[in-house]
């Protein structure tokens, strides 16, 4: 019985990536605009009971974004933010996302034409996953850094 639960848990973690696919009754250009324009974002970001009340961004690759969400009853304010990683209007948007004091994640959104509509594929994955995928180069770099440090240390002691 306990084993059954464990197996299910493992299956779930095989995708620590959240994937949501939706069809929107609007062309990709409009969906992209609504997703990336400050004035529009405030009209949809956040669930009904936790709408975004402020949104600021520097909309370019490497630029930061930040949003504040407020509970409808005013009991709580939550901040989230990140940095734009990829902007390819009207089909792709990628940015980092983190709640304050929480783990960094990477969000990728594809807006694909679906007749006159848009098929949106949204993925959110923890950076730990991205890091391990892209991590080999970093691994090498840190090895070289250590080697360099060792060489320096040795040079210093031989002096």
């Amino acid at each position: 019985m306990a084993l059954g639960n464990d197996t299910r848990a493992v299956a779930e973690t095989d995708d620590r990536t959240l994937v949501i696919t939706r069809i929107f009754d609007a062309p990709p250009a409009l969906v992209f605009q609504v997703w990336t324009d400050q004035a529009h974002i405030l009209n949809w970001l956040g669930p009904h009971k936790y709408p975004a009340v402020s949104f600021e961004h520097d909309f370019r690759v490497g630029g930061a974004w930040r949003a504040c969400l407020k509970a409808l009853d005013g009991s709580e304010t939550l901040w989230q933010g990140g940095v734009y990683r990829e902007i390819r209007a009207p089909n792709r948007l990628a940015y980092s996302f983190a709640w304050d004091d929480d783990l960094e994640t990477l969000i990728t959104v594809d807006f694909l034409p679906h007749g006159a509509k848009t098929r949106m594929v949204f993925t959110q994955t923890p950076f730990e996953t991205v890091k391990s995928r892209d991590g080999h180069r970093h691994g090498w770099n840190s090895s070289f850094d250590r080697l360099r440090d060792q060489v320096r240390a040795r040079a210093a002691t031989s002096r």
């Binding site: 084993l3 973690t13 949809w44 730990e128």
Partner: protein, 116 residues
């Protein structure tokens, strides 16, 4: 490495070999030797992975039996599932609003269009 438990769990889970080890352990507890077999990996290499999993609380190793069997611990995995679920609720809620907003926008546009 970050110290909070969820980061440690995610970091431990980021490696495909470690995920495979967990998948194997989900079928029942086993020895290190037995675990190493399907991975064509040396015992020290497997032990290294097990240490990472153990530090993240994803497995435990019995100290009673001589062969120290490994056992999966479901707690941290449930935390990850919960974390992902929280995000899902947040986004599904936002996308419901996005859907409504897009419809409203386009309806207004058509109304404006016919008015001209």
């Amino acid at each position: 490495m970050t110290a909070d438990p969820l980061s440690m769990t995610l970091s431990a889970l980021a490696d495909p070999t470690r995920r495979a080890i967990l998948a194997r352990l989900a079928r029942g507890e086993t020895s290190v030797t037995e675990l190493a077999e399907p991975f064509r990996m040396s015992l020290p290499a497997v032990s290294k992975h097990l240490k990472v999993l153990e530090r993240a609380g994803l497995i435990s190793r019995s100290r009673e039996a001589q062969w120290r069997p490994c056992r999966i611990e479901a707690g941290p995995l449930a935390d990850v599932a919960h974390w992902v679920e929280t995000y899902r609720r947040f986004w599904e809620g936002s996308f419901d609003r996005l859907d409504t907003y897009l419809k409203e926008m386009q309806r207004k546009e058509t109304e404006d269009g016919t008015g001209k």
